[in-house]
């Protein structure tokens, strides 16, 4: 039978020699090859203009990574797919820049008629990372280091999702560690902008990495625009990554090959096998990973990058007021050539959390005999009312009660805001709740816009006879009703 000539020519993936010039940049050495691209270390060429027109604002660092996406020798349609992937990266960088995402400094198309392989190649110039999380996992990771790495990943993911994008290919290879130790997400070639009437999903080319694809993807139909992608796909991948970070790079599903592990994940999702996580994963992170690995999109939708971040913040504040934020200690942030965009804000938040936790500890020493006034108060008239506010733009002024936009109420405002501390009743943006009183110092809560508050309102739950009241974090409303201060609640349990 006739076969086309083997097109997997050996020059594909061949690194460029050091000293090779691409645009205003000079190759200094190879970093790696994978997927459709080769990545090189590079620096600004000596005779290049100081700041390229169309470059991203800000001082380009001395060292950069040059991602070369060759299109030479490819069929037009294949070349278009690669161009499309590069377009996604550029678009995302332009619209959703963040300290937790690798910065794109420049992008251009090479014109090198002398090199058929390089001619027409797309080059993305990005800030240079020290190594990938995959490399880092080759050596053991302490619990504190793991927590810092994962918090950084979730911060990046929360920002992406808040900005209306899905990463689409989250894996340790695409999480980069900078020289100062900070964590950044990279490789947005499969990133998808959320569309649809409610911004709940987008469409991506039918690609991904087997070990990180959620089980529902394997049955997902291929439509005209590609395959439907939702943020819950990133949350699944995050669950795998959390496990890998603490288990020395081992994925949660057993099997010698990616195909075997994908089959094991499928078995788990269909309820024929239990999830067996490694004992090396600390309990808090195991619980988080397990929630990320909820078997269906529907069961996973409750766990967004935002809620996971809240849980981490709450747990950290509860455990160790001195714990550094994911940014690292302030001194490290200052030493970094690229300080985070909002260093003051970050430090302020850390200080606030620490202060709040100290207050909480002091409170815990108080005798717990104080009578809980809740049942009595429930019978009396409410003192005021407030309107629920959702900091997520897409969740405001909606009437459909989308579960993704629902907000929780705590059972005990002095305990970590975890799933077992949340009442069954959910509330949505715009809902008006009757308020009894204000608790000035409870568990600190950070909302999607990074606003922090330790204040809580005790609100009425009209439809819940068993539990007449619950606690709403003050960041969940813009109102400040004039209500009395709540008596210290009796710890639940």
């Amino acid at each position: 039978m006739q076969r086309p000539a083997d097109a997997s020519g050996s020059d594909r993936g061949e690194p460029l020699p050091p000293g090779h010039r691409v645009g205003g940049w000079e190759v200094t050495g190879p970093i790696g090859a994978g997927g459709w691209a080769t990545v090189h270390a590079g620096r600004r060429a000596a005779d290049a203009p100081p700041d390229p027109a169309g470059g991203v604002a800000g001082d380009p660092p001395g060292e950069v990574a040059l991602k070369v996406l060759p299109t030479g020798g490819l069929a037009p349609r294949q070349a278009r797919a690669i161009a499309e992937s590069a377009r996604r990266e550029v678009e995302l960088a332009r619209r959703a820049g963040h300290p937790r995402l690798i910065r794109l400094l420049d992008s251009f198309v090479l014109s090198e008629p002398g090199h058929p392989y390089l001619d027409g190649a797309i080059v993305l110039v990005m800030e240079r990372a020290e190594r990938s999380l995959r490399d880092r996992l080759a050596t053991p990771v302490t619990a504190a280091e793991g927590a810092r790495l994962i918090t950084g990943i979730i911060e990046g993911l929360a920002h992406l999702h808040r900005s209306g994008w899905v990463h689409g290919d989250l894996k340790p290879d695409n999480v980069l560690l900078m020289r100062d130790g900070s964590v950044k997400l990279a490789d947005f070639g499969l990133a998808t902008e959320l569309t649809g009437t409610h911004g709940t999903h987008g469409y991506a080319p039918p690609m991904g990495t087997l070990d990180y694809l959620p089980p529902e993807r394997r049955r997902a139909p291929l439509g005209e625009h590609g395959i439907q992608v939702r943020p819950s796909a990133d949350v699944w991948a995050l669950g795998i990554v959390i496990h890998e970070v603490f288990a020395g790079g081992a994925p949660p599903f057993p099997g010698a090959t990616a195909m075997a592990r994908a089959a094991a994940a499928q078995e788990y999702a269909e309820g024929r096998a239990a999830l067996r996580t490694d004992h090396a994963v600390p309990p808090f992170w195991r619980e988080l990973a397990t929630d990320c690995l909820a078997p269906t999109h529907e069961s996973r939708a409750a766990h967004t990058a935002e809620t996971l971040l809240h849980r981490i913040t709450a747990a950290r504040a509860a455990e160790d007021p001195e714990a550094p934020t994911a940014e690292g200690p302030p001194s490290a942030a200052q030493a970094s050539p690229h300080p985070p965009v909002r260093p003051l804000h970050r430090r302020a938040r850390a200080a606030l959390l620490a202060g709040a936790a100290v207050c909480g500890a002091a409170v815990a020493l108080w005798p717990h005999g104080a009578r809980d006034a809740a049942p009595a108060a429930a019978r009396a008239e409410a003192s005021g009312s407030l309107r629920v506010f959702n900091a997520e733009q897409g969740c405001r002024n909606r009437t459909d009660r989308n579960p993704r936009c629902s907000l929780g109420l705590a059972i005990d405002p002095l305990k970590a805001y975890t799933p077992d501390n949340v009442v069954a009743t959910r509330v949505w943006d715009g809902e008006v709740l009757a308020v009894d009183c204000l608790l000035p110092r409870g568990m600190p809560i950070v909302d999607e816009s990074d606003a922090v508050s330790v204040e809580w309102f005790r609100v009425r739950l009209p439809g819940d006879a068993a539990r007449p009241t619950a606690w709403l974090p003050a960041v969940r409303t813009k109102d400040r009703p004039a209500v009395p201060e709540c008596p210290r609640p009796t710890p639940v349990n």
Binding site: G34, R77, D173, P205, L210, R272
Partner: protein, 263 residues
């Protein structure tokens, strides 16, 4: 990923189609009250519990419970390629995407059923040859040496040659187009239709427009059009694959009938 599909044609028993996910298994044999089987094969020479199929990873394993008989697993597209699974062999891995499991009987006729394993993964053709660590792959990978792929290339040919943005060949046209290829001489219209169904339902899981919409008529080709559109859009079939098809009768490569000189 959807595991494997087992199809037992009518004749050796009732026609059955079973879908098994990873980790699931199905037993086959004559069956009885006390030995239930998922695939009932009606032949006196076959034991009550003749064997078992278990899905693992992206393939499946065959256990032969017979103490005397070997079973054959043929690759119907492999030009005679087959495996012999000896008596009492437990969990022999079967590497074929398409298999025909043949059990011997006393008479002339054999009892056979088909097993499809659509989950086989192929490396991305555009990949730059990085390490086989955790590569990003196309989720719908096709065996470019399979007959279904030839059918798909033939379906896409007019669009690839820019002859017509809309024309998708009919089944008889595909049969004619592929007739000259080794392995395709016996290809029937029915086989072509099954290959198209397999591509649409198992390999790509396209969400095709309704087959019986107004104006669609009896050709029922909404599925084909969707398949061609997606195969081209996502690069499953590319210009280079046209070389898999035999040269067109009477014309050079790429010459469209309407444009041929001297016609």
């Amino acid at each position: 990923m959807s595991g494997v599909l087992i199809h037992l044609p009518r004749g050796s028993g009732d026609a059955v189609t079973l879908r098994l996910g990873p980790g699931e298994s199905a037993r086959f044999g004559r069956g009885s009250e006390t030995i239930p089987v998922e695939l009932r094969l009606v032949d006196a020479a076959i034991s009550r519990l003749a064997g078992e199929i278990r899905v693992t990873d992206d393939h499946w394993q065959l256990s032969n419970h017979s103490t005397t008989q070997s079973y054959l697993v043929e690759n119907p597209e492999g030009a005679g390629e087959y495996l012999r699974v000896p008596p009492r062999r437990a969990g022999a891995p079967i590497p074929f995407e398409f298999s025909r499991v043949v059990l011997p009987t006393r008479g002339e006729a054999t009892v056979a059923f088909q097993v499809f394993a659509p989950d086989h993964v192929y490396l991305d053709p555009a990949a730059t040859g990085g390490s086989w660590g955790s590569p990003t792959v196309t989720a719908y990978s096709l065996d470019e040496t399979a007959i279904y792929f030839l059918v798909l290339v033939a379906l896409c040919e007019p669009r690839l040659r820019d002859e017509s943005p809309v024309a998708v060949p009919t089944t008889p046209e595909i049969v004619d187009r592929l007739a000259g290829l080794p392995g395709c001489a016996q290809l029937t219209a029915r086989a072509v239709s099954s290959h198209i169904d397999y591509l649409a339902d198992e390999k790509t899981r396209i969400s095709a427009p309704a087959e019986t919409g107004p104006g669609r008529g009896p050709r029922r080709n909404g599925k084909r059009e969707a398949l061609v559109g997606l195969a081209l859009r996502f690069g499953l079939v590319r210009e280079e694959h046209l070389a898999l098809l035999p040269p067109r009768a009477g014309g050079g490569e790429g010459a469209a009938p309407g444009r041929r000189l001297g016609k």
